[in-house]
């Protein structure tokens, strides 16, 4: 068992690490954008909007994310939409993460006393203004810890890239392993690279939580 395999393929692993980081950032951005719109819709005054948001959340988060990635990559072309592997993973992981984020944020919104919404709308704010200016800033603070957990899940879910032959961390490890048969080494190396992304992310969310608690 030679650990030199990692050093010999450092360039490949570095590229894989960067690809995972980019996948995670892009997926997180998709998830965050979707959820910040979908979560308030779950409590919107219009029943049709609530139903649409609920349908998205419940269908998406109760399906394995790999099904969504495969759908985006293998099925969408049949419907006339060609996605690159990168885009397919971002769509799948982002869509799935968006549903998870939305459910977390909705639980935060539910925890805000009804009087906050009443005083905002009594001042003439619209539903959107009340959400943006009054409810969400408070709700997001409450759910920083679960948002951190789900952010880490997004980072881990980018490993689905390996299933559509991407050269992110897991795909790179698999590739190097198949060339060198040093499977133990390459997968331990892959695990360490994921930790290098997830542990600082966890620490950052903990720090954010502590900072908000002091206010």
């Amino acid at each position: 068992m030679s650990w030199d395999v990692l050093a010999d393929n450092a360039g490949l692993f570095w590229h894989g690490f960067q690809t995972t980081l980019l996948l995670a950032l892009a997926s997180w951005a998709v998830a965050a954008s979707l959820s910040i719109v979908v979560a308030p819709l779950r409590v919107a005054p219009l029943a049709a909007l609530r139903a649409a948001a609920t349908a998205y959340v419940e269908f998406t988060r109760n399906v394995p994310p790999i099904v969504i990635v495969f759908f985006a990559y293998f099925a969408l072309p049949n419907l006339g939409v060609e996605l690159s592997p990168f885009a397919a993973v971002v769509a799948g992981v982002g869509f799935y993460g968006g549903a998870m984020f939305a459910e977390i944020i909705r639980s935060g919104i539910s925890a805000i006393p009804r009087g906050q919404y009443e005083s905002a709308t009594a001042q003439g704010m619209s539903f959107v203004q009340a959400m943006r200016l009054v409810i969400l800033p408070q709700a997001l603070r409450l759910v920083v810890p679960p948002l951190g957990t789900e952010t880490i899940n997004i980072i881990k879910n980018t490993s689905l890239g390996a299933a559509v032959s991407m050269g992110e961390i897991l795909g790179t490890a698999n590739l190097v392993g198949s060339r060198t048969f040093a499977y133990v080494v390459v997968f331990v190396g892959a695990g360490v690279l994921y930790l290098a992304l997830t542990l600082p992310t966890a620490a950052a969310f903990n720090a954010l939580e502590r900072r908000l608690a002091r206010r």
Partner: protein
Amino acid sequence: MGQPEMHGAGIGAAGPVAIEFRDVHKRYGDLHVLKGIDLRVAAGEVVVVVGPSGSGKSTLIRCINRIEAIDAGDITVLGVPVAARGTDIRALRRRIGMVFQQFNLYPHKTALENVMLAPVKVAGVPRGEAEQRARELLRRVGIGEKHGAYPAALSGGQQQRVAIARALAMRPEIILFDEPTSALDPEMIREVLDVMRGLAHTGITMVVVSHEMGFAREVADRIVFVDDGMIVEERPPLEFFDDARHERTKAFLSKIL
């Protein structure tokens, strides 16, 4: 601004009508909360609504700015039919301030930001102008030095005074007080009532749901007694307290006085 001729105008007050209820009904499922409310409030008048808990008085005041929707009847506020489909309720709400029992200040914003938020975001007042006015309002309610504090750092009485400043920031023509002192410790009730007293008869129409009979007697032009979803009596305070006509009013007064 002052309209001294309105003072003590009482029932059927002259001048324009600010708020009018016509046979208003409200139900929560099987519970019939408002059972045919008819009420007129003149512009500039101070009306205090009293009654036992669960009588529907809070629901009544919350219908004025459509925080609660009504099931039947009409409410006209500042000439606008509140319940009508085409009504721009947000435009109307800008003209109606509201103060809540639980203060409902925005906990993530300072006292000053609480007062400035709606003028800037809803009315489009330039920040500098809104801030100047907010500081002035906070001084007026005696919070001037605490404008940078978050609500959690303020006492209940201070929070409620900030809430009054916030309600005034939109320069409303009507201000609604929904049990503004019921969540306060006894020693803080007076500071809030003092601010409300200073506001009365300055031209703004005030509707106050309260258990503070001393305040009602002293400040109200008219007292409206609500019981079991109906207006039992509405009379000027002296008559109300000293010469109650209905048995239900007498029973209520004997319990609280």
